[in-house]
Symmetry: C2
Subunit: 309 residues, 2 copies
Amino acid sequence: MRFMTSLRFIDAVAREKSIRKAAEKLAITSTALNRRILQIEDEIGQPLFERLASGVRLNTAGELFVQHIRTQQADLARVQSQIADLSGIRRGHVRVASGAETLRHFLPDVIARYRSEHNAVTFDISRQHGEAAEAALASLETDLALIFEPIRRSDFQTIATTRQAVYCCMAETHELASFDTIRLHHLLDIPVILPTIHSGIRQLLNVGLMRRNMQLATMLETDSQEFTQNYLLNERVIGFQIPIGLPQNMANGQPENGLIARPIDSADVPQGKLHIGHLRGRVLPVAAAKFMDLMITELGERFPKDLDQ
Amino acid sequence: MRFMTSLRFIDAVAREKSIRKAAEKLAITSTALNRRILQIEDEIGQPLFERLASGVRLNTAGELFVQHIRTQQADLARVQSQIADLSGIRRGHVRVASGAETLRHFLPDVIARYRSEHNAVTFDISRQHGEAAEAALASLETDLALIFEPIRRSDFQTIATTRQAVYCCMAETHELASFDTIRLHHLLDIPVILPTIHSGIRQLLNVGLMRRNMQLATMLETDSQEFTQNYLLNERVIGFQIPIGLPQNMANGQPENGLIARPIDSADVPQGKLHIGHLRGRVLPVAAAKFMDLMITELGERFPKDLDQ
DNA sequence: GCAAGTGGTGCAAAAAACGCATCGCTATTA
DNA sequence: TAATAGCGATGCGTTTTTTGCACCACTTGC
C-alpha cells in the first residue's frame, strides 16, 4: 500500500523513538525518513515529535495523529479482508493475544480447524498476560484477546465467557490424586509451583488463601507451563491449571502421561471466567470475526454448561 | 495532505463516474489519474471499478474501499481540528446541511456569533431537504444537519430538538391578520403558496388537511422562501413558515416590512420538531462539535420552552 | 575534551509521476 | 451501414519527487 508509506513510517518512528533506529528497521536511510517526517509535519502545520538529544518523542499533536494512523491501518486491514472475502477465498490475517493457558491445546486446535477450511488465512499469536493483552488491543496491535480474569479496562468488549475452575495438577501417584475434589487445607505443607501474579489463576488462588488466611508452601514461581508440567513428574509437587489448558482427558479426570488433574472445591477458590473479546467499538476484519465465532463454537463444545454469550 | 492524494482521486472518480471528468476537476490529465487508479487496484489485488463504455462504476470492492476512504477523510479532519485546537486558536471547517427554514435568520446569526470568537473557522452551508441531508451525513459530505420533520434514517442521531408550530404568513392588511390563531377552516377558498412535498412544513399541513378531509386553494408551489415572502406583498395569498424561519419580531406576532405571521392552531396542524444532529457513531471535529453546542444554546434562547436535549 | 550518539541540510543520482500522442473499443448518430 | 464521438489503456520522453551520500551542529556520557 504505497499511499500508507509515510504514515507507516511515522508509526515506526513513534515506536522506536528514534529516526535513525526506525530507518534501519524500515531499510531506508535516516535522511530520507527524516525528510518524510518533516514534510508531514509541514503539511499538518505543527511538529508531531519533540526533538531530544537522545532521539524523538511524540508531542500531544503527535499522539493524536499516531492514534489516527493506527485506527486507519486497522480499518484498512478490515476493508482488505472484506474485499478478499468477496472473491470466495477467505484471505486475511488474524492477530490474537492470549495468556499461556490457551496456547497448549485450545488455540492450536481451533487454528488447525479454521485453517482446514481457510488455509489462506495467517495468524499472529502473542502470549501476553491480561493487562498487556488489553493494551495491545487498545493500540490496535492485536485483533482478539483471550483473557482469564480479571478484565481491567472498560474498552475491552467481552463477546463470550466460559467459567473455569482452578485445577491441581500432579503426578498420578500423588497422595492427593485419590480425592475427587481438592480442598485448600489438603494443600497445607505440600510444595506447590505457582504461576506469577500476572496470571488470573494466581489471583484466584490468592482470593481463596486470603479468605482462609492460609499460605502455601511455594517452592517455585514461574510463568512457564512447560516447566511446571514437566517438573510435576519429578517431585511430589502440585501445579495449577484451568481446564482449557489441560488435555481433554485430564480435564475429565483421567490420567495422561503420568499426570492427573483434580478441581479445587469452588467453596475454597472461586471459579474464574475466561473472556474472549476485542476492543470496544472496533469492526473486526472478516477473518478475525469468523475466527472468533469458531473459538466460541469450540468453547461451547468443550464446556457446554459453562459458556456465556 | 500529500499522502491522501491517491485516495482523494479515487473518491473523485467514484463521484464523477468517469476518469476523464474527474481528471478535469482535479486539474490533471486523465492518463495520470488513470494510472494512479490502476496502481491502487494493483495493490489491492482487485479492480475497484467496472469499466463501461460510458465511464466507470464502483464494483462491490470499490464500494467498500470508497467508504473506507470517506471515513478516513472525516477522521483525519477531526484529528486536524483537534490538533489545531491544541495551539489555542480554534481553526477548522464546519459543514452544515439544512432545509431552507434556517437559512434566512437562524444560521446567519449563529455563524456570525461563532465567528466573532473563532474567526479562523470556515463554513460550508448546503441547502438540502431532510432526506438529502441525511444522505449527505451518511456519505460524510457534511458534519451537521438541521432537519425539520421527519427523520427517516436510523443512523441520524438527534442531539437536540425544538418544537415549531406552522405559521401563516401574509400581508398585514390581510383579512386573517386579525385572528390570533388561524384555524384550518379559515383558509377555505383563500389562495395559498405551498412549499414542495420535500418540506416538513408541507407534510405537517398534509396531515392536518387529511384529518379534516380538506383541500387548499393552492395557487403555487415553490421551494423558494424569497419568492413566497415577496409575493405575499402583491396579492392576498397566504404562505407558510415556522418561527425559526421568521424574523424574531414576526415570530412574536408583530408586523415587519408589511408582513405578519399567525400560528395555526395545533389542534388542526400538529407541531413539528426541528432536529439538530449528526451521523450516529461519528466523532465530530472540535469546530463542528462546538458549533453544534452554540446552535443549541441559541435555540434555547430563542425558544426556551420548546427545546429538548 | 573526546567519542559516539542524535536530527538536519546541500547536492547529485535514481525513481516515480506526469503529459502528449495514440490505440482499441463501444455506443450513438447520420 | 458507416462515420463519429467518447471512453479507458498504453508507449515514450520530460518533469518532479524521492533517495542516498557526505557533512554539519548539537547533546550526552565517559
